[in-house]
């Protein structure tokens, strides 16, 4: 176990936002909560998956909903802690530790908020290795682990337990409905996992990965070096395209933010053009009508100058952006993994082809 420093938390916020691949919601409010908690003396420990016992009970948390809504409802650390306590009450047992369902975006920090209140460590792992828009898009779903139970919390006092659903899809549908009723945002504790399940199906060491990414950007900026090169180097990524945002189109359908953006090349990419489709997160990059990179590989659109991630909600005309790809976790590259999170899972009738093998 290792105690996270105040600096680790700042770096985690930057790295989690990059791993959000355009979605996942900004970690800023979670960071503000954590700064306050740390100022009040709270400290959070990070526990490696190899330190877990097989039958340890692990809470898996996230805030579901539209990032746009979080900008107004903000983040309250007590809500995610309450989601975990409500699950403990339902199960009649205490959790050994808490982990993120998705490391990407604000949800990468939610387990830290719960942990600060509950006094238990955070597991250095998640179930996406990035952010995805739907509950069945996890390594736990690929591993066919139980999708239930789930607790869902609204600050006005409504607490819902979904005791059982037959499939992950059903869990997504039912929990999404509740989330929508709550105002398109809910603090949730997902199906609890055992230590053995986390070791087998969890995506290991993604919290430390996010901290490493954030630190690479911060240090590059301090040295006036290229932060994007630092990100690529830190995580064996690939630079795809750099240019200026010339078009953004968004629409909200079925509770998702869908749309597209067009980037016109600058510098060495002058004369070129790419289009990126999104469903909360970046899904497919197209060039000359052909897919260049798609989920599950990570598509990150970074501010060309600061290296900080640009989200699908906030991207706007005129921004200078660099598109990079980071490798996906191996669990999603299997045929079963691709069923869950490949391009067809997002409605694109194209075969997945790794950009790293072309």
């Amino acid at each position: 176990m290792k105690q996270l420093s105040a600096e680790d938390i700042e770096d985690l916020a930057v790295g989690a936002w990059i791993l959000g691949t355009g979605g996942g919601g900004s970690p800023y409010h979670a960071l503000l909560n954590l700064r306050r908690l740390y100022a009040d003396g709270a400290r959070v420990d990070l526990i490696d998956i190899d330190e877990l016992d097989d039958d340890d009970a692990i809470a898996v948390v996230s805030v579901m909903g539209a990032p746009l809504v979080i900008l107004e409802r903000l983040v309250d650390s007590k809500l995610i802690a309450r989601a975990v306590s409500a699950m403990e009450e339902h199960l009649g047992r205490k959790f050994r530790a808490v982990m993120a369902i998705e490391i990407g975006g604000g949800n990468g920090m939610q387990p830290l908020l719960a942990a600060a209140h509950l006094g238990i460590p955070v597991v250095d792992a998640d179930a996406m290795g990035r952010a995805y828009p739907e509950a069945q898009m996890t390594s736990f779903a690929v591993g066919d682990l139980s999708p239930s139970p789930l607790t869902s919390i609204d600050p006005r006092g409504s607490e819902v337990i979904i005791a059982r659903t037959p499939t992950w899809k059903w869990m997504e549908r039912v929990s999404r409905k509740i989330c929508t009723e709550f105002g398109s945002i809910a603090a949730t504790c997902k199906a609890p996992r055992t230590g053995a399940e986390v070791r087998k199906w969890g995506i290991p060491r993604t919290t430390t990965k996010a901290i490493r990414l954030g630190r690479a950007v911060a240090e590059a900026n301090r040295r006036h070096a290229d932060p994007i090169a630092a990100v690529l180097e830190a995580e064996s990524g690939m630079r795809l395209f750099a240019g200026k945002i010339v078009e953004v189109e968004r629409r909200t359908t079925e509770g998702f933010l869908r749309g597209r953006t067009v980037i016109e090349g600058l510098g060495e990419d002058r004369g070129g053009k790419v289009e990126i489709n999104f469903q909360n997160e970046w899904v497919v990059v197209w060039r000359d009508g052909k897919p260049v990179v798609s989920t599950p590989e990570l598509i990150c659109v970074l501010d060309s100058e600061s290296g900080e991630a640009i989200g699908t909600e906030t991207i706007r005309y005129g921004q200078r952006a660099t598109v990079i790809a980071l490798p996906a976790s191996a669990v999603f590259l299997s045929p079963r993994g691709l069923d869950h999170v490949g391009p067809r899972a997002f409605g694109y009738d194209i075969d997945f082809k790794s950009v790293f093998q072309s």
Partner: protein, 511 residues
């Protein structure tokens, strides 16, 4: 077309006359405590040199007064912040994330009450009117004069903010209330921060713009008064007084637009060294590069659309501390001509050091004869380091850049700097900001929800409204161009609802 552009800085008041696309004349006067006499003096000086009697179309004034107040933590009024969002958002109360020194000056207390809306227009919680009245009584007891109301999702439904504002005004006659929905879009904390900064500056803004009007009356100019805004456009005086934050970055914006206009250079770093601050910006295609959404003002996070700037406390009036070998951030400001050593004062300023070093001929040089060459060089080296460091921060690549040095304190910018290929200085450069003000355009903006139309129809309808507003604000209809169009869908409202924001700009109509 004949316009007077004026920039009221912390130290100098600059005035230019621009006619038929040319700078006819520029003058510099000291900013005065009452502001009015400085403006009057600058216009009189202008009038003495060129003919102002015939046909001035507009008087356009820009000022760094308001942002200086935040940077220097001066002239700020304490604000009561009322948040209408409980039981959500309680973990992050108003003033969260503020620098402690600024919060200490602006924080008149925070009240959180139940109410607000959700993103789909449904009510979040019933508005707690009793809590609002209780808050109002406490605000009255504390003797606060300015309040801010921020309700959840107020950009989509402003009714709770308006209801609370009405209650506050009823309970506390004369209270000034800033509603957050008038200052920004979605993003509760940033919108609230902007509203609080705005409210804490209103007293200063009313006084300042009142002084502008007085100056105009005194000099006998009947042309309308406009005040320049962050985006390089102008607003009519009354609106500008109610929303000082929209003029926050107008000084640097004007300098950069003026620097581009005067030099004909469209890609460069610009440094505008005034009496109190030095502002660094990046010109691209002749316009300031905009910051990426979140902008920190005096350490506070906001969502203003502003040029990407770094502002540091380095200017001609900056205090110099020889023991610590520091320059600024405090400045004698407009009291340069009384407080600086060369003018017989007792405060050592950057101007004094420049006079001692022979860079400037101002005041009485003998009064700084005691400053040795080593001392002078050490101070100037410190200024050079500060400038090099911030030019470097503004850079987007490793290569050397062109640096346009403008402003009355540009004498602090040396001819050679690390990372700079050449330093460009332009005629009338000391008044670049006033030139930028004089060439400013008028804008019209619309931000509203449309239903039952296609995206294209909604944008076209918004464009038409924006055009009308721009023309009402004094724009020439034929010159209008749409500079921004943004649409955000709002789910769960009937009829494919979308929020559309459109902005158009055009030239001032000459009648």
């Amino acid at each position: 077309m004949k316009r007077i552009g004026i920039d009221v800085g912390g130290t100098n008041t600059d005035a230019v006359l621009v006619a038929e696309g040319k700078v006819i004349h520029s003058v510099k006067a000291a900013t005065t405590a009452d502001i009015t006499s400085g403006i009057v003096a600058s216009i009189k000086a202008l009038d003495a040199a060129v003919d102002l009697k015939s046909g001035v179309d507009a008087l356009m004034i820009g000022t760094t007064h308001f942002i200086n107040a935040v940077v220097q933590r001066r002239h700020l009024t304490r604000v009561a912040a009322i948040r209408v969002a409980l039981p959500a958002t309680g973990a992050l109360p108003p003033f969260t994330g503020w620098p402690a020194d600024l919060a200490a000056l602006a924080n008149g207390g925070a009240w959180q009450i139940e109410g607000g809306h959700d993103y789909d227009g449904r009510r979040f919680m019933p508005l707690d009117v009793a809590a609002a009245r209780a808050a109002a009584r406490q605000i009255r007891e504390r003797g606060l004069k300015h309040a801010v109301v921020t309700a959840m999702f107020s950009p989509l439904d402003a009714s709770d903010e308006e209801a609370i504002a009405a209650i506050l005004r009823e309970e506390i006659p004369g209270l000034s209330v800033t509603c957050s929905h008038l200052l920004g879009g979605i993003g509760l904390l940033e919108r609230e921060n902007a509203a609080i900064l705005n409210a804490s500056l209103i007293a200063l803004a009313e006084e300042t713009i009142g002084a502008f009007q007085q100056a105009k009356a005194q000099i006998g100019i009947s042309a309308p008064l406009f005040v320049t805004q962050n985006d390089g456009t102008v607003a009519e005086a009354a609106r500008a007084a109610a929303f000082p934050v929209f003029g926050f970055a107008s000084g640097p914006t004007n300098s950069m637009r003026g620097a581009a206009y005067l030099s004909g250079i469209k890609e460069a770093i610009v440094v505008d060294v005034g009496g109190t601050t030095a502002d660094f910006g990046h010109l691209r295609l002749g316009f300031p590069r905009e910051a990426n959404a979140v902008v920190h003002v005096g350490g506070v996070r906001t969502l203003f659309r502003m040029p990407d700037l770094i502002s540091i406390g380095l200017g001609g009036g900056s205090h110099v501390d020889l023991d610590a070998m520091t320059i600024g951030p405090l400045s004698v400001g407009y009291r340069l001509t009384t407080d600086a050593l060369v003018f017989g004062g007792d405060r050592l300023t950057a101007t004094d050091v420049a006079v001692a070093g022979g860079l400037l001929d101002l005041g009485e040089r003998r009064r700084v004869a005691h400053l040795g060459a080593d001392t002078v060089n050490a101070v100037l080296r410190r200024a050079k380091e500060m400038i090099e460091d911030h030019v470097d921060r503004m850079k987007t690549g490793a290569g050397d850049v062109t640096l346009i040095a403008v402003g009355g304190g540009a004498f602090l910018v040396p001819e050679t700097l690390q990372g700079v290929a050449r330093v460009v200085r332009v005629e009338h450069g000391a008044c670049a900001n006033a030139v930028g003000a004089a060439i400013a355009q008028v804008s019209g903006e619309v931000d509203q929800v449309f239903q039952g139309t296609t995206r294209g129809e909604a944008i076209a309808a918004a464009r038409k409204l924006a055009d009308n507003r721009a023309v009402e604000a004094g724009a020439d209809a034929d010159s209008l161009v749409m500079v921004e169009a943004e649409d955000t869908p709002i789910a769960y409202l009937p009829g494919n609802a979308m929020r559309v924001r459109v902005k158009v700009v055009g030239d001032i109509r000459v009648t």
